[in-house]
């Protein structure tokens, strides 16, 4: 609204044709409100130990003033120096982390070692607003060199974590006490996702190629994969316990290989089955979507079936197919979290442990990295898709 009405007030000349995508102003206003509210709400929750109820602590007046200023900063910058909006939003993100650090440190100072200072509603709201602001800044500076400023918060936030400034934050205290085990669970999570995806690709890719040429087979294969997908992940895990433990009992050799009703074997089976549908569906659709005229011309020019596949069908199908692989990967990060319930390990372990003992910090220790993992995988594979799409002349 206000921003889009007054594009680039301060930077006429070089930026005269500055175009503000419609709605960016609204995004930035939407970013301001949670930041304002967050500044005024409790910032830290101090509890004598990790399970006891505690007291809400607010920001000191000086920081409230600074917070209010920071809340308005992205919107103001967008009006005056639109190029620097990303910097203002990043500043707000970093300030949120910094203030959390100082406030938690101040809160636990002089308390017993079991005391926990966790982030209260104010911090979360402030981060939400700052996050929206970086998103808005990204929109505003899209396709300009300054768009990287919307990510400028990364290094300082990493520095805050590494320097120990946030060490008094309850989540990190839990993390420290978990330490190597947490790294292990993260590794286990990645391994579950990687192996599930790998197996699904191993089965799904040839199956999709085979089924894409056969009407009936394609229908059957897709139907089966679809049926699996409609089962809730918990139900699927439960259903796999009985047959797998029966198998393990019947063939002790299998048990020696680590196959049993609970643990990694059923989890991996379930993950593979889940990943299969997007890989199969997109594969079949993409391979069948190759124009028949193109195939006809290729065959008519004397390509062998292998050449036809590698030179024409695969390159043309790849962008759509890869987006199926991406969906599968993101899906698996979530399903792998549930697999902790049957003893497969992974970040889900913390989520369920935290839920059982009502320890929010433990939940966060599992949930936040899992969410970041999903987002990171999504972004990385999207990038790959775009790259391939451009290479094969289908992309933007």
């Amino acid at each position: 609204m206000s921003v889009s009405g007054q594009p680039g007030a301060g930077v006429r000349g070089a930026y005269a044709p500055w175009s503000v995508p419609g709605g960016t102003g609204t995004v930035l206003v939407l970013a301001t409100l949670p930041m304002l509210a967050g500044t005024l709400l409790p910032w830290v929750l101090l509890r004598p130990n990790r399970l006891a109820p505690g007291d809400s602590l607010r920001l000191p007046p000086a920081l409230v003033g600074a917070g209010l200023l920071l809340a308005a900063l992205p919107l103001l910058t967008a009006r005056l120096f639109p190029r620097l909006t990303g910097l203002a939003a990043s500043l707000a993100v970093v300030a949120g982390f910094w203030a959390l650090g100082t406030q938690t440190q101040a809160a636990v100072a002089g308390q017993a070692p079991f005391a926990r200072a966790s982030a209260a509603s104010g911090v979360w709201l402030f981060w939400l607003g700052a996050g929206i602001a970086t998103y808005g800044a990204g929109l505003l500076t899209r396709s300009r060199p300054e768009r990287w400023l919307a990510w400028a918060w990364g290094p300082p936030v990493a520095a805050l974590f590494l320097s120990g400034h946030l060490n008094a934050w309850s989540v990190l205290i839990e993390g420290r006490s978990e330490g190597p085990r947490w790294v292990q669970e993260l590794g286990q999570h990645l391994r579950l996702v990687g192996e599930g995806l790998g197996l699904a690709l191993l089965i799904g890719v040839p199956l999709a190629v085979w089924a894409s040429g056969r009407e009936r087979a394609a229908g059957t294969v897709l139907g089966a994969a679809n049926a699996v997908q409609t089962l809730p992940s918990l139900a699927l895990l439960g259903l796999l316990i009985a047959p797998l433990s029966a198998l393990a009992n019947a063939f002790p050799a299998l048990r020696a290989l680590g196959i049993s009703g609970i643990g990694v074997a059923p989890a991996l089976t379930a993950l593979t089955l889940y990943a299969l549908l997007p890989i199969l569906r997109n594969g079949v659709v993409a391979l069948r979507g190759v124009p028949s005229g193109t195939l006809d011309a290729a065959r008519g020019m004397g390509m062998t079936p292998a050449q036809l596949f590698w030179r024409v069908r695969l390159p043309l199908a790849l962008p759509v197919w890869l987006s199926g692989v991406r969906q599968a990967a993101v899906l698996l990060v979530g399903v792998a979290a549930v697999a902790a319930l049957i003893g497969a390990g992974g970040l889900g372990t913390y989520i369920f442990k935290g839920l059982q003992s009502a320890a929010t910090d433990l939940i966060l220790l599992g949930a936040v990295p899992a969410a970041l993992l999903a987002l990171g995988l999504d972004a990385a594979l999207r990038g790959l898709e775009r790259l391939l799409g451009r290479h094969f002349g289908r992309g933007p």
Binding site: M301, G393, R394
Partner: protein
């Protein structure tokens, strides 16, 4: 060059092509003409074995095509289809280079060949080489399709309604361009079409098909003046002569004479339009000018095809 012997293709109990015997003369363009569904595409695809015959055989230079590997056979037969079928993920140059690449030509030779061919079909290589098919108009894409089919210099060109997807103007232009190319290259061309005008205009010979069988094979004049059956006469229509005239320039019929006082036309006008001018002006002779300079006289008698044929026979 290409000979079809008792060629047959059944789908279930139905014949798409039935006992077809035909010789496509070397270096000539034969139009495979006929109504929709009469088996033209099936016939064409049996030549490069995209469709396998149910019975009969195809001889290529005296050799049964079944003795060759299908891929090998196809690399020696240029193939252009109606949907053009360019590879959307490859550039124009890469599209044209497909068969040379399959044949293992070296890079330099392929690149030179690609440029030559783009020029041949009237596309500036510097402009079009790096474009993707999605950036081309229908006419440009079809030119690339023709260039691609010619890439490895195959002696035979199979074309399935290559100009069918174009608007009339682009089609005319591309037909002219192709006629030019063919006059230079003298390939053995089999051109499938259901467009009578196209067949009369481009075909040295016409093979007219009807329900999977051959109705008549001959020159355009043969079909027009000596139709083998009522079907042939009916299919070509009573105005076939006019259609044929439409495909020829008025200049072809010019003879020396005194142009004084006659209505004037340009030599680029087609013969049917010249006839129209005669009817409109009530004159049985026209002065034909080339860039304003009198070239000679076009007479009503000369347009009467029997005369034209007689002259052709003398020449």
């Amino acid at each position: 060059m290409i000979e079809l012997q008792h060629l047959e293709r059944r789908y279930g109990d139905a014949y798409a092509v039935r006992d077809l015997n035909l010789k496509f003369p070397e270096g000539e363009l034969t139009a495979l003409l006929g109504p929709s569904g009469c088996g033209k595409t099936t016939t064409l695809r049996m030549i490069n074995r995209l469709t396998e015959p149910s019975a009969g055989r195809v001889l290529l230079g005296g050799r049964d095509t079944r003795d060759l590997r299908p891929e090998e056979l196809r690399r020696g037969l240029g193939y252009v289809i109606q949907q053009i079928g360019l590879f959307p993920h490859l550039t124009v140059a890469q599209n044209v280079a497909t068969v040379p690449e399959l044949l293992g030509w070296d890079r330099r030779r392929t690149a030179r060949r690609v440029d030559d061919l783009l020029e041949l079909v009237g596309l500036d290589p510097a402009v079009y080489r790096a474009k993707k098919p999605g950036e081309l108009s229908g006419g440009q894409a079809q030119r690339v399709g023709v260039a691609r089919a010619l890439a490895a210099d195959p002696p035979v060109l199979l074309m399935d309604e290559p100009f069918g997807a174009l608007d009339p103007l682009a089609r005319d232009r591309l037909q002219d361009a192709f006629k030019d190319i063919q006059q230079r290259l003298r390939k053995t061309v089999v051109l499938v079409t259901h467009d009578i005008d196209e067949a009369l205009r481009l075909g040295d010979r016409i093979a007219l098909m009807h329900a999977g069988t051959l109705a008549q094979f001959g020159t355009p004049d043969d079909l027009i003046h000596r139709p083998a059956s009522p079907f042939v006469r009916h299919f070509l229509g009573e105005d076939a002569v006019l259609r044929q005239l439409a495909g020829r320039a008025a200049a072809e019929f010019v003879r020396p004479g005194d142009p004084a006082g006659l209505p004037r036309i340009a030599d680029t006008l087609d013969a049917r339009s010249a006839l129209g001018v005669m009817l409109r002006e009530g004159s049985d002779a026209l002065a034909v000018l080339r860039e304003g300079v009198p070239l000679g006289v076009l007479r009503w008698d000369d347009l009467r095809v029997r005369e034209a044929q007689a002259r052709k026979a003398q020449a």
